[in-house]
Amino acid sequence: MANNASRKLKERNRKIFYWLMISLPLLQFFIFYICVNINSLILAFKSYSVTEGESFVFLDNFATVIKAIFKDTSISTAFTNSAIVWFVGLCVGSTLALFFSFYVYKKYFGSGLFRVMLFMPQIISSIVLVIMFRYFMVYALPEFLEPFGTKVPDLLADPNTAWGTILFYTLWTGFGTSTMMYVGAMNNISDSIVEYAKLDGFTPMKEFIFITVPMVFPTVSTFITVGLAAVFTNQMALYQFYAGNAEPQLWTVGYYLYVSVQKAGNAEYPYLSAFGLVLTFITAPVTLIVKKLLEKYGPGVN
């Protein structure tokens, strides 16, 4: 009897401790995730003016957003650019990241140095990296190529080359986290599988394609899904390069939103909230479908 009471008391204390420990983080989550998003939803149906104050406008903000997406060439360009960045990142960036990770995981020649170098852009502040890159392109690259008879214009100032240059920069600086995670996942591959493959005469390329990639595919799939979810928040370092003054043909949706919020006052918040919601409505189902497809049709190891 006494034992039972003591166990009950212990369980009650456990529960109190549990709720005490999780309550503050949950409150933070409630305010900064749930309330923020509910407020965003409410804001999207409101209008604000200095003379009339706040008023409900129902779907007017959404109509303005849809109109802007289809009629405003700057915004439609931002959508196209965001899609291109994601697609190139997926096809070129992810493939190279996997390839680099395999090289590091197999501890081939120089892998220690390469691992540090691949992670370097994550360590260096993006502002610092952009400043060095920007002036390197303006001063060092032309000077370096001059003896070879090549004249290099200011690639970041010329509208015809700026987009390609920034896309290259985005890819070039984007291997750190994915490589670290992929190498971590590759290190968890059982040694016996690798040994069997070796005995079967697998070349490194065969091992990479038929063993390593399928074995780490859950991690790859997570990166693809998270990358897709962030397709409209990717700013492509445009703010670091141009602050709020990038040419509209360079915009991504993430850049447009960030700069708009930074410049906005109360009157613009409802439109921007509606814009954010429209983007969520587009991205959420696509992300979930892609996740399901990857789970169903992703490569497996037989």
């Binding site: 081939y108 502002i127 971590g184 979810a229």
Partner: protein, 306 residues
């Protein structure tokens, strides 16, 4: 005895050289070279005068190392200054020391708060088998997958309503959350941890708080420390959140962005901009090089290998 015929194929097989490896080596060597070239150029440019930079854009600064323009770095320390508009003061000057303090308070505070809260929540959800634990784990996974775009305006409004906008405390409150990838890393660490010690302590009459502080914390301290370092680096380099949510507390990254864009007189010349970049880069580069094995040491979504 018959002499074996020489074959290049066998020779490469013996050396374990394959086209795959060679291509990898070339591509990665080019990558490393491009990164090193940029850093080398930034460092050497930071130690030149503007006059020298005009005629020598690629080479080392002239003279012996002790004759290089080290004064650029000291000039940055004493003249790195920006002007901001606060609610009470227009064009308020903020000097290097104040920005350094803001950066340390922001990056240090947020790194520790974010990592500890995430660790505690992961511990609770792994070791207390209540229905809420499952819900919390699902919340983390759903928020990672479900994109919420453009919540900035709403977040600004809520911060202003709660009186947290443009305050240091507000920056910490924003980071008092458990969402994100590191929650899964901690969960995996706790799942792989033996429960023998905590069970023995419980039998000996230790409270849950004592078990958490005296047994669990020391066991996962390596993982916790790694994640604090990763967070610290990310927050040290972050300039967008301070710019948006705490404009009165500019960090060094924020200041460098401002100075290189709008800085007048001597701060606007290229060698001085590179010196400013160097001043921000060095502390974090030293931390990285000291802790590189820990930072790059197998952080996976399946846990951290100790």
């Amino acid at each position: 005895m018959e002499k074996e015929k020489f074959s290049w194929k066998k020779f490469f097989q013996k050396l374990e050289i394959s086209p795959f490896k060679i291509v990898g080596l070339i591509v990665l060597a080019l990558y490393a070279l491009s990164m090193l070239a940029l850093i080398y150029w930034g460092l050497t440019t930071a130690l030149k005068t503007q006059m020298e930079f005009r005629v020598n854009k690629l080479g080392l600064p002239k003279g012996m190392p002790w004759e290089w323009e080290w004064s650029n770095i000291f000039y940055v320390f004493s003249n790195f200054k920006i002007y901001i508009n606060t609610a009470t003061e227009a064009n308020k000057p903020i000097k290097f020391g104040a920005m350094l303090l803001n950066t340390v308070v922001y990056a240090g505070g947020c790194a520790v708060i974010s990592a500890v809260v995430t660790m505690v929540m992961a511990y609770m959800t792994t070791n207390f088998e209540y229905r809420m634990s499952d819900i919390i784990t699902k919340i983390v996974i759903i928020t990672m997958i479900l994109p919420i775009v453009g919540a900035y305006p709403s977040e600004m409004q809520i911060l202003k309503t709660l009186g947290l906008y443009d305050t240091r405390f507000g920056s910490w409150v924003q980071k008092f959350n458990f969402l994100g990838m590191y929650f899964l890393v901690f969960q995996a660490t706790f799942k792989s941890m033996s429960k023998e010690f905590s069970e023995a302590a419980s039998i000996d009459g230790a409270s849950e708080l004592q078990i958490l502080l005296l047994i669990v914390f020391p066991i996962v301290r390596n993982t916790l420390f790694t994640i604090i370092i990763l967070n610290f680096v990310a927050f040290w380099n972050d300039y967008q959140a301070p710019l948006l949510y705490f404009p009165s507390f500019p960090t060094l990254a924020f200041g460098l962005d401002f100075v290189t864009r709008y800085g007048g007189n001597k701060m606007s010349i290229v060698p001085m901009k590179m010196s400013g970049a160097l001043v921000i880069l060095l502390p974090i580069l030293i931390i990285f090089l000291v802790f590189r094995n820990r930072i790059l040491g197998n952080v996976t979504m399946g846990g951290v290998k100790e």
